[in-house]
Symmetry: D2
Subunit: 372 residues, 4 copies
Amino acid sequence: MGGSIYGRLFRVSTWGESHGPAVGVTVDGCPAGLVLTTEMIQKDLDRRRPGQSRFTTARQEADEVEILSGVFEGKTTGTPISMIVRNKDQRSRDYGNLAVLYRPGHADLGFDSKYGFRDYRGGGRSSARETIARVAAGAVARAVLDQAGVRIGAFTSAIGPVTADENMTDYCAAQESPLRMADPKAEEEAAAYLEKCIREQDSCGGQVTCLIDGVPAGVGEPVFDKLDAALAQAMMSIGAVKAVEVGDGVSASRSRGSLNNDIYAENMDGVPVKCTNHSGGILGGISDGSRIRLRVSFKPTPSIAAEQPMLGRDGKIHRESIKGRHDPCVVPRAVAVVEAMAAVTCADLLLCNMSSRIEYVRRIYNNSEETI
Amino acid sequence: MGGSIYGRLFRVSTWGESHGPAVGVTVDGCPAGLVLTTEMIQKDLDRRRPGQSRFTTARQEADEVEILSGVFEGKTTGTPISMIVRNKDQRSRDYGNLAVLYRPGHADLGFDSKYGFRDYRGGGRSSARETIARVAAGAVARAVLDQAGVRIGAFTSAIGPVTADENMTDYCAAQESPLRMADPKAEEEAAAYLEKCIREQDSCGGQVTCLIDGVPAGVGEPVFDKLDAALAQAMMSIGAVKAVEVGDGVSASRSRGSLNNDIYAENMDGVPVKCTNHSGGILGGISDGSRIRLRVSFKPTPSIAAEQPMLGRDGKIHRESIKGRHDPCVVPRAVAVVEAMAAVTCADLLLCNMSSRIEYVRRIYNNSEETI
Amino acid sequence: MGGSIYGRLFRVSTWGESHGPAVGVTVDGCPAGLVLTTEMIQKDLDRRRPGQSRFTTARQEADEVEILSGVFEGKTTGTPISMIVRNKDQRSRDYGNLAVLYRPGHADLGFDSKYGFRDYRGGGRSSARETIARVAAGAVARAVLDQAGVRIGAFTSAIGPVTADENMTDYCAAQESPLRMADPKAEEEAAAYLEKCIREQDSCGGQVTCLIDGVPAGVGEPVFDKLDAALAQAMMSIGAVKAVEVGDGVSASRSRGSLNNDIYAENMDGVPVKCTNHSGGILGGISDGSRIRLRVSFKPTPSIAAEQPMLGRDGKIHRESIKGRHDPCVVPRAVAVVEAMAAVTCADLLLCNMSSRIEYVRRIYNNSEETI
Amino acid sequence: MGGSIYGRLFRVSTWGESHGPAVGVTVDGCPAGLVLTTEMIQKDLDRRRPGQSRFTTARQEADEVEILSGVFEGKTTGTPISMIVRNKDQRSRDYGNLAVLYRPGHADLGFDSKYGFRDYRGGGRSSARETIARVAAGAVARAVLDQAGVRIGAFTSAIGPVTADENMTDYCAAQESPLRMADPKAEEEAAAYLEKCIREQDSCGGQVTCLIDGVPAGVGEPVFDKLDAALAQAMMSIGAVKAVEVGDGVSASRSRGSLNNDIYAENMDGVPVKCTNHSGGILGGISDGSRIRLRVSFKPTPSIAAEQPMLGRDGKIHRESIKGRHDPCVVPRAVAVVEAMAAVTCADLLLCNMSSRIEYVRRIYNNSEETI
């Protein structure tokens, strides 16, 4: 049925294969009158671009975005915003043997089972290059959110077994770090761990923490389009994600009600403030106005240089190594993707929430009094 | 925008409040010709019904379902199946003070922020009684899946800190256990832990593991409607869920590529079989034909008998205890809900997958040859 | 895939068969805080109810609606509004022979081809009783529209060859007329024509004109969810409708640009006013703030008392007459259905339009300044 | 909320403005394994291309399509098919004064009211160039339909008051005629009428008839996604369309039940065949296996060379003539657009119908026996 379209009101339609001519995305439903420039998109794309450190694939892609529609005189027109990024540095020869092999940990067998055949070059549609479309759409969403005072920041909270201090959440520091970690001590250790993985022709997983500030209370639609449910879909849809946690996540399952319930207490001015945030800013699927906190777990990059047994289309097992250029850990580059998906989801549900009260209907249509 | 409708082709539309006259669900898009009886629905509803053990709320509800449409002469007609369960044992007087208080850990503040006011009786729309609709729809989905050879079973894998042995997955044993655990030793310990929580006027969380067998390879739609992404939304949309893990989940983030990649090896007949299942049966969002494995983490029941500080609509903090009848741990009754959401999601994506190949189009429309 | 759910934000999910226990509808996405009573729904249902004149079926149905959810203390809560009407005066024995016959002009063959079998009693799902759900949902939509100053009125503009004067648009007069015509002279003639049809064991078609006032300029979503496109789907989805015209409709195809373009001219105060309305209030799929005008053509009731040749399930032709109680012309009772579908569609697109400008986003989220 | 995405399973997402860099479309949900070439798309685009006769705009556009994704080794992969056409011969200077004027009969006022401003160059998003995306998507849909034996053909049935003989339906003749008429005598008259319109600096409307053969009985989803309802939305969403008729359309409203009901009679071999087709192949919203027949009415091109009064953004009335290059009648070029929208709608509902029976589920998933 497709599956490449996401969102309710802010709808993102993505397309493109790793080794096809281009990848791209169309955003339909972005409100009109929003300042939007190529630079705003490019800035986020540059953050996920490969080739920025020794820990990312050597594939060289400028990933330059072109806006093809929906913007006029620097502002969004309300009509679809089409964005395209041409693929340049394809090296399809690396993938010749993949036509007949199913790489472990990849969707190859799934695509063949589903569609009868597949574009095997560089993973085709299931390549990480697909996330370019997410990041471009996310940049548009971020501009929408900015108008409602919402800010999103993500960073690496774990690389393999190396965990960053949860209290170190300096977003700017994370942005400047090659591994996108806000804890310099943990980053040093993580870098050493990654070097070791590379030496051993292996890869590792990790975690991304995403913080969202400024979402007003009331965002999220009960029962199925809850804010956390929508974020869970959005995050789990990113390649290599195996777990999504909101607030205390898994550890909440080991807690007690008396400890896990968040407490409000009066501050020195007598105003009640939320003192704890075990819930991660979402209760019953609706934002409560406090910081939203997610943790997303990524599995190790399945493409490793070491030789592995692989199932073949011929129904036999082959021992091969995977050529091509791969990140030893997807997490640092995934940070921008997590932010993008959080942005798209929040923008979407923020727009959905605009019709939640008849009072808002009257406010937009300038009908100040109740007429029934 | 609503949010009470779920699914792409197999669409579930739920409604009802805890203390309104009834709760219900309409399933639109169920294939015609499926044997469906009230008993099939009732059987699953009985599994989530309260009042079955000392560990569940004392609210007495028969939860008897009536099928109002979509079934004729014992078979589904292809038109919407409407199912209704009347509420009977409402005790709204328990909730009088909740009109002006926001219970910790509940959606009360969110609903008020979103809608301007709320039906506060028994949690209104955000009550766990909402899950009756999910379970009824799930029973229909299960009947569909049965025709494709898919089986779903869930059980309690943890109650607070008490964890069941992962290798004990006897589904029948779990069904007969009051805590829905397949590991009798862990259950004994868990029961003791729950007793302690009750004595201390407290509550606890836990985990549900869900296993899905028989899903053919190829189910799940890249990029956003991946099978794991859809399951993540489905599970996270259940009240009190704070984390969803697929396969090894969070622990995959601490693994290495060489260990986390699943291995195929030849069995004694020379046929390749999958030896490990770190991926949980889903790769790149598409089923690979092996067992699908999910773990869902629930937070502790937020309604506890002990007195707690609560934010009031008056912007002040009040110390009150929550009356009403509540489960000390939602997990045992949530098992049926997890199964239901898994069933609805799998049935939906199984139907979606039916149009993935032009060969299938020809097969349904009896057009045996390619005509281009 | 279903097909019984309609709408983007204001979503209507209908269910029920003619001779099943009940018919009903759930409205998901109605804004909270709207005054809504059973009487408001019942009033519209009474207008489509059978048995009100000698020109309608003798089937006796009180069609009493019960609201099962989504309303608390007289106001909508923002959660799904479930409404149910029990079927009472089923006379299934009239339909015994229809199990094996395909009535001319009905969906019988279509349902059998699609689903393999069908609930043949009284037309099952394709009975006109299905429109009860539309009318109930329409009453809710009407309450929403009322808050934005939108008013919808429809009336019979033709019965068979008898056409009402287009300038006679007194809605109140039409409401009180048994044939829902605003032109008393034409009505008299139409009544005589209908009597003749009944005497001749025949039926006839007719037209409904629908006027919508107060829709602000800007409603309708280019390219596919245009206001006229959405109205066309909504109207054509009503049983027996064979044509939908907007503004001058078919006759616009015979006009010239110089004549068909609507003209603005200054009134005596120098303010430009629209002098003509060939377009019917919609240009490029978007409302222009003037009166919206639709004409909907209904075919003759296919169930006639005279004997007809009918295709049977046995692949043979049978000569039979159709028993059961049928309107000689569906148009008078369809007036309320046309209004309902117009109301649902306008309410839906009015809500959709609320997120069309970033300025509205700021207005709802109280962010008065641009922040980029 | 957008509005540029159409379809349920076969989803078409369009974008682009008349004077932006390009227009395009992404088709998500096309089954895999379908032969698809650029030539197949180009062939249909060429049929709607301007500059083919003296009756179409002089704008010169090659309208060359590039397929950017979703096709591998000449076959669809099941993933999104992105298609792009660069705009070349923009002459934006023609539209300078339109920034401050609302052209009669156009969406200018609507766009400004909706979005606060608009891309006024060449009509921006509401330009007829938007239909390129529809035609490209339609070519893909046509390839799908071809595999199920469905054929679609449309032709001009009226130009202004000149009507073609309804019995002349030679599709090939229509394709070769500059006005796309299958009746050479009517075409001659129509050409003369058009010449007269051009001389008088005026324009005219017309009608397109669309025939669809080979749709199996059973396609269309009751209640809201009926085949005729979906076609009505699809057709009415095309710019300048003011009426959609199915089968006998408007004239059915003046008929009698005894005449309008279609008759089956036995042919010489004793096999029942449908003798009449007043219904146009659709009953109760579901195809009955016979020829589907639609008539679509287009209003006269609103952009005429003669001077007209126009409302300005300044709230005053201006007398101006519209520069730019416009067709005196949109109908001949609209024929390809009508076909495309019919193709997309039929392909979509054909796919939807694949999950209508549990027997089909078993057929796809190779589960030959009932298991309940």
